[in-house]
Amino acid sequence: MTPATLLVTVFFFVPALILFILSLTDLASSNFSEPWHFIGLLNYQRMFSDRFFPKILGNTIRYVTLTLIFFNVGLALLLALLTSYINRRAGFFFRMLWLLPRITPSVVYIVMWRRMVQQAPFGIINQFLGWFGLSQQPHLLNEHPWLFVILANGFVGASFGMLIFSSAIESIPKDLFTAAKVDGASTLQIIRDITLPMLRWPLLFVTSYQTLSLLVSFEYILLLTNGGPGLFTTEVWALTSYKRALSTYFGTNQWGYGAAWGLVLVVIAITASVIYLRVFRFDDLVQEPKIDVL
């Protein structure tokens, strides 16, 4: 067994198996002192018939697609293009700047957001709005929870794609751009006809990778809105799974039930990964850029 196989087995397949077994039980803090039972697929039945199941599913899809389109891919691509068309050093600096939120601890980062969206005179955004005569704005987070959930996630998420896209753009042979300019292409036409087609694989890679990481991420939502305001307004799948299984809200940990929620994500992730591995041929992605191949 190679070290890689061992690692994947120990840290992925074994936990996944335990999770699956857990999801077939009625393990919970309420009956922890009693013997637990295998209850078959009852947890899954309960999950799919949950009153808020459609809401959570819808929230998850909304959260993943909007963050992905506008930030993790959209803004990332825009930033990569902008920074590669300005001065090299300025581009580098700008990219570093954009990485700051990623290396900021989540709690600090979210506290900053919460600080920004509070009511005047505490909220920073409302203070600015106040200068334009828009004082007495309500608590922005309660007014537009989705906007800030997506902003907070997107600002961090965009940096990953930006780095991938920037280096992909840098590895395009300069002669191609020269040739296109000589052929008569404007900057926009060069982006459309040369740059974007050559970013096809990085684009697919970032899209798929970020879909998966958004699907399983919940910490910013937990810290920012905790699924609220109100009932399940911004609650996503991974957050539900976490709350059912591990949150001590009312001291009612339902490990078995939460595991069922979690396992669905694991299954989606494995399926998607296998497809991606096949489709993208990751070996090719990590190959050196093909320059001057005869």
């Binding site: 042979p173 191609l176 020269t178 040739a179 296109a180 000589v182 052929d183 292409a185 006809d193 093909k290």
Partner: protein
């Protein structure tokens, strides 16, 4: 179209790309930029293409200053060493790209691309991607793409350097032929002096960002203005020997360690004052003879038609072209005749020719 460069200069901070290039081409002329790697050929070419902005100086197309004209409005075609084909486009799309940008109607574009592709002999490869083509085919596609918009100026940046030797030879004559037929003014960058000499009407020799000479190939060969040009042009390269020139009773003598030669008066009189000179003499102007300078054969390189001999005269090494039929062998002692009628003489300090 005529191209004129006046005091053309490109610097990046302290780095000099090209410095004070003055040069003007005739309409329809084939000009080669020749020089070793890093001498500023590409830099100059990219300024002409409009990719680099000159730091100082002007570029004129038919007496019109084009310094600020963007590349797309210069009506030029360009061919690269890397071919620079768009890897995600087919041959058809690659060649047709300049026309597509000009919004040429579909059927007209189709006809045009087919005609150019047929001319380049790649009409049957239209649906292939560049990766599915050989180097020679890729270079033809690149040529087709450069030609399709009927440019007024063709720029080549070492287009044949990535091809194997035999293909290079045939593409060389093909490009030359094409250029003559179409009569498009062309600037051809190369570090290969044979390419420059065989293809160009005039050759611009560059060194360290400076233009050393701009002259027809035979002029460069027969009347090299600097030591650098003399050494760079011609294959195998010219021999350089440090000698003294002396005048005795109206006749001129070349003296060196183990060397004693007569020098024609028309050459000798130009060096009357500076007695220490560098004499340049081409391997084909030295021959094996019965009397003359004695030396030992150090190495023999068979070139096929000739043998290239490395002969040591004391400390001095000279290259000599000899007939293989003579059966010279290593360590033989040979007698060399120097044809000083074509000898070049250079000032050792300025490295300028004393003759031209």
């Amino acid at each position: 179209m005529k191209v004129e460069l006046t005091n053309l200069t490109k610097r990046w901070g302290d780095v000099v790309g090209a410095e004070g290039i003055d040069l003007s081409t005739k309409d329809g002329e084939f000009v080669a930029f020749l020089g070793p790697s890093g001498c500023g050929k590409t830099t100059t070419l990219l300024m002409i293409a409009g990719i680099y902005k000159p730091t100082v100086g002007e570029i004129l197309f038919d007496d019109r200053v084009v310094n600020t004209v963007p590349p797309k409005d210069r009506n030029i075609g360009m061919v690269f060493q890397s071919y620079a084909l768009y890897p995600h486009m087919t041959v058809f799309q690659n060649i047709g790209y300049p026309l597509k940008l000009q919004k040429v109607p579909k059927d007209e574009l189709q006809k045009h691309v087919q005609r150019v592709a047929d001319m380049m002999g790649i009409g049957h490869l239209m649906d292939r991607k560049p990766a599915q083509l050989s180097g020679g085919q890729q270079q033809r596609v690149a040529l087709g793409r450069a030609l399709i918009k009927e440019p007024q100026l063709l720029l080549f940046d070492e287009p044949l350097s990535n091809l194997d030797a035999r293909l290079r030879l045939s593409m060389r004559s093909e490009i030359k032929r094409l250029q003559m037929d179409l009569g498009i003014t062309s600037i051809y960058v190369t570090h290969d002096q044979i390419e420059a000499m065989t293809m160009a009407d005039r050759v611009a020799v560059m060194k360290d960002g400076h233009l050393q000479a701009f002259a027809p190939p035979d002029e460069l060969y027969d009347h090299p203005k600097t030591l650098f040009i003399a050494g760079f042009v011609g294959n195998p390269p010219m021999n350089f020997i440090e000698v003294e020139v002396k005048q005795e009773n109206g006749s001129y003598q070349v003296l060196g360690p183990g060397i004693h030669l007569d020098l024609p008066a028309d050459r000798g009189e130009k060096v009357a004052r500076s007695s220490k000179v560098i004499m340049g003499i081409r391997p084909e102007d030295i021959s094996l003879a019965d009397t003359g300078v004695k030396g030992e054969v150090y190495l023999i390189e068979p070139l096929g038609r000739d043998d290239l001999l490395d002969v040591r005269i004391g400390e001095t090494a000279v290259r000599v072209l000899a007939d293989p039929a003579l059966g010279v062998r290593m360590r033989d002692t040979v007698t060399l005749h120097f044809n000083t009628d074509t000898a070049q003489l250079f000032d050792p300090d300025t490295e300028q020719s004393l003759l031209w």
